[in-house]
């Protein structure tokens, strides 16, 4: 491995009462690379990344960020390290506009009050870097946006503060063909900028289109972590459904 992982999860365990959801999971993500996290419904993918985001801390296991052991107990701690998550359900504030959503919880202040100009410029600049054409309308309410636009705002929010790790939980699940392509392109662009991207998806075509690594979660266990170029669609389907076991070296 040329580069050291920025995220290194070791032996992560998480239960909800008697239900054991994560049973000793390992996961790595590398700067500038897209790591796809796949697995069937209920495999534990969202649970794994909620721990990384600090919203649902793990029961046990080790989290290393850039080689250092860290504890993630709140969204603030995660975002201070530069870990940002775009959730499956998006969760934007419909009544607020694009700028307000992008800066919610980390507003730019000048003399204690909002620096509206600075926030508008940064929001527009971030959208532009993601090749979203917009200048005059960053003040649009989020409720008036389409699914793809909302996804874009959520992603733009995650990269606004120079995130080092961006986790996308099924970002294309609700999108049409053109908008899916657009979001995947955006994922590639994030990686180009040196961000470690963790992409959760059920769509293997999408995964193979952008992923450098593929990790497969099966019933709360990581059954395979491979380089995308060393595997194929059928093998991954086999790991996901549990009909095939991986015997190679974990990437």
């Amino acid at each position: 491995m040329a580069e050291a992982p920025i995220i290194e999860l070791t032996n992560i365990v998480k239960s909800f009462g008697p239900v054991s959801v994560l049973k000793g999971v390992n996961l790595r993500a590398y700067p500038g690379k897209v790591t796809a996290l796949v697995g069937d419904n209920g495999a534990g993918k969202s649970t794994l990344i909620k721990g990384l985001a600090g919203v649902q801390p793990y029961d046990s296991g080790e989290v290393r960020f850039a080689g250092e052991a860290v504890h993630l107990h709140s969204p603030r701690e995660a975002s201070r390290l530069g870990i940002e998550v775009v959730y499956q359900d998006l969760a934007l504030c419909d009544n607020l506009d694009i700028v307000q959503n992008m800066f919610l919880g980390r507003e730019e202040l000048g003399f204690g009050t909002f620096d509206e100009g600075l926030m508008e410029r940064e929001a527009a600049e971030t959208l532009r870097q993601l090749s979203v054409r917009t200048v005059s309308s960053v003040r649009q309410k989020v409720s008036s946006l389409s699914g793809g636009q909302r996804q874009t705002v959520a992603i733009a929010r995650s990269v606004l503060k120079k995130a080092k790790v961006v986790v996308l939980d099924e970002p294309t699940a609700a999108l049409g063909v053109a908008q899916t392509e657009q979001v995947l392109e955006l994922v590639g662009r994030l990686a180009e900028q040196g961000v470690a991207v963790i992409l959760i998806s059920h769509n293997l075509a999408d995964v193979f289109a952008v992923a450098d690594y593929i990790s497969v979660l099966y019933l709360g266990q990581m059954v395979a972590s491979v380089k995308a170029e060393d595997t194929n669609r059928d093998d991954i389907v086999g790991y996901i459904t549990g009909s095939k076991t991986y015997n190679g070296v974990q990437a």
Binding site: A91, C93, L104, T113, V132, R133, S143, A178
Partner: protein, 351 residues
């Protein structure tokens, strides 16, 4: 930056943002200001000799609406955050009772107090004021703590606190109002005027309203409040401590209720434990009429302040015209229904 070629179907944002003028003219605060102006002109024309438009009558209107304006301002933050406080009437009563008890305890001998002549009036009034605000704030903290701990909606919690709060006020007073409070607090505060014409309580209401407007539109506090009302989950994930924000919101509401309790006894020199039952609903009505969404996420402090004048205008105008002031309740109800209808249509449109 040159325009880049956008692939077909790409995510683009159109610039459908309305101009600033258009936003002001279509804002609920602006529309409600027109309604208020029309009401004032209407009563001006209809009242005998136009007495409704006299300076003295405007002074009455300002004094009569000051308390509701204050309550509506506090309620705007709560409703904007998707919360409610039904207990503010009980809070006003309890705060005023505690303040009145402190004033009579500190103010002088029982004989002096019965005669309404306090030897220690200044200290007593000051301590009474502090007691009212502290009681109000504590009431608010209890509300927020219960919502946070029980994980029950603030509707239920404050409904229970409305009952408990007025119950405590009855227990503390034995059901008998504390009266004969020092006249100094009426002359110097409750019915006092700035420049001989603007009632001090109205000045306080406007100043607090402007501070609230600033906090709502220019500070983190405001956008976090609206974020919470728009999507609790999104606000939480954005790193906003929603439990702490909730405590702040109820503390503001409680402190305002305490202040209103003090203004109330300063005006009338007696507590009013039988009154204030309609305060919470009147405040919520003003908030919704003023353009704040009952479902949270959108709020207008200025709209609430203007809408809070309507009941006073109606009561005052109807009394001047010798029509029973109870019609006020009917008219306010109708205006509230219209406002809710407009809110629903806006929500449907923005989907």
């Amino acid at each position: 930056m040159t325009q880049t070629q956008t692939p077909p179907g790409a995510v683009t944002f159109d610039s459908s943002e309305p101009s600033a003028t258009r936003r002001v003219v279509t804002s609920t605060a602006f529309m409600i200001a027109i309604v208020v102006t029309v009401l004032i002109l209407l009563f001006g024309v209809l009242s005998p000799n136009g007495v409704f438009l006299s300076a003295g009558n405007f002074r009455n209107l300002a004094l009569d609406s000051a308390q509701l304006i204050l309550l509506a301002v506090g309620m705007t933050f709560l409703v904007g955050a998707g919360e409610l406080d039904l207990s503010i009437g009980a809070n006003v009563i309890l705060s005023s009772v505690v303040a009145a008890k402190v004033i009579t305890f500190v103010g002088g001998t029982p004989e002096e107090i019965l005669a309404g002549d306090y030897s220690n009036a200044a200290t007593a009034i000051l301590l009474g004021f502090l007691a009212a605000v502290v009681t109000g704030v504590l009431f608010g903290i209890v509300n927020a703590a219960l919502v946070n701990m029980l994980r029950v909606s603030s509707f239920i919690v404050t409904l229970a606190m409305m009952s408990a709060g007025s119950g405590i006020a009855y227990i503390v007073t034995g059901g008998i109002n504390v009266s004969s409070l020092p006249r100094e607090m009426q002359k110097g505060f409750g019915s006092a005027d700035l420049f001989g014409i603007i009632p001090i309580p109205a000045v306080i209401a406007v100043v607090i309203g402007l501070v609230a407007w600033f906090a709502m539109t220019k500070l983190r506090f405001g956008v976090h409040t609206l974020g919470m009302g728009s999507s609790l989950r999104a606000a939480e994930r954005a790193g906003i401590n929603i439990r702490r924000q909730r405590v702040k919101l109820f503390v503001i509401m409680g402190g305002i209720a305490g202040l209103v309790g003090f203004i109330d006894i300063s005006r009338f020199l007696t507590t009013n434990i039988q009154g204030h039952q309609g305060d919470a609903l009147a405040a919520i009505a003003a908030v919704v009429i003023g353009g704040t969404s009952l479902f949270g996420g959108r709020a207008s402090i200025l709209g609430s302040m203007i809408a809070a004048i309507i009941p006073a205008i109606l009561i005052n105008g109807l009394v001047i015209m010798r029509v029973g002031s109870f019609y006020q309740l009917v008219v306010t109800g109708v205006i509230l229904l219209i406002a809710v209808g407009i809110d629903q249509r806006r929500r449907a449109q923005s989907k």
